[in-house]
């Protein structure tokens, strides 16, 4: 049997890790109950959505844009066998990401690399900031 002694012999380290969790920068969402973990970045041209989905078959991921929201759905099926330890999340997941600006739906691109799903959503030309001239 494969035994993992980490939980017994690393007690001081567990404590350190507990404090590290609390002292992490505030920008990281405290609630980690939603799956998969998602990062959203933005620049002038696009909105970028990154999701951690290791081991997911691209064919089992359902990515759609509806009504100004990006919906990421799928199912992670577990391996068959006698489990001694299960930590990896499995089952049906869904996350809805609200897009606060209009997106050019036809130009949305997504790719999967090393288990990270990267979605690039280009903003429509009208929603990019335009300088307004003030007339005297």
């Amino acid at each position: 049997m494969v035994i993992d002694f980490e939980t017994f012999y690393n007690f001081p380290r567990q404590f350190d890790r507990l404090f590290d969790e609390f002292l992490r920068p505030n920008i990281i969402s405290q609630k980690r109950t939603a799956y998969p973990p998602i990062n959203i970045y933005e620049d002038e041209e696009n909105i970028y959505v990154y999701a951690e989905l290791p081991g997911m078959d691209i064919s089992k991921i359902d990515l759609t844009i509806t009504d100004g929201s990006l919906v990421l759905k799928g199912e992670k099926s577990p391996e068959q066998g006698t489990y001694y330890r299960q930590e990896r999340p499995c089952g049906i997941f869904q996350r809805v990401i609200n897009l606060n600006v209009p997106i050019d739906v036809d130009k949305v691109k997504a790719k999967m690399k090393n288990g990270i799903l990267e979605v690039v959503l280009p903003k429509t030309v009208e929603s990019k900031t335009k300088k307004i001239k003030i007339e005297a």
Partner: protein, 122 residues
């Protein structure tokens, strides 16, 4: 008069313990580890006596010159150790990294499998 407080930013290494499944199938033990964003060249597997140590570093980075709107995961290091029992045939361990998942196959040693003992009549 305002005084500026200078904050020293410590670049801390973020080390994660990856989510791991340990299971047994007919042919041996399997360990599956979620290592999202890890490429083969940054994965290290060390077997010292009975200790199997896995170390890796994520290779992804956020797109350049973008603003962080919402973050739930960050780049960092993965590290985890396991103690293998003698049942495992250590020479025949197989590892495969695909799509951010490390699969380890740990076959059971031949001598650990039950062997029938012949009884001879005197």
């Amino acid at each position: 008069m305002t005084q500026e407080v200078v904050k020293k930013e410590q670049a801390k290494e973020v080390i994660f313990s990856p989510y791991t499944d340990i299971l047994e199938k007919e042919d041996g033990f399997y360990i599956f580890m979620d290592l999202p964003g890890v490429e083969k060249d940054s994965l290290e597997l060390d077997l010292k006596e009975n200790e199997l140590e896995i170390k890796a570093k994520t290779s992804w980075s956020k797109p350049e010159k973008t603003k962080d709107v919402h973050l739930e995961f960050v780049p960092g290091y993965f590290k985890r150790e396991f103690t293998l029992s003698d049942i495992v045939d250590k020479d025949k361990i197989k590892a495969n990294l695909k799509n951010g998942v490390l699969s380890l196959f740990l076959p059971k040693a031949e001598k650990a499998k039950p062997k029938k003992i012949q009884i001879t009549a005197e």
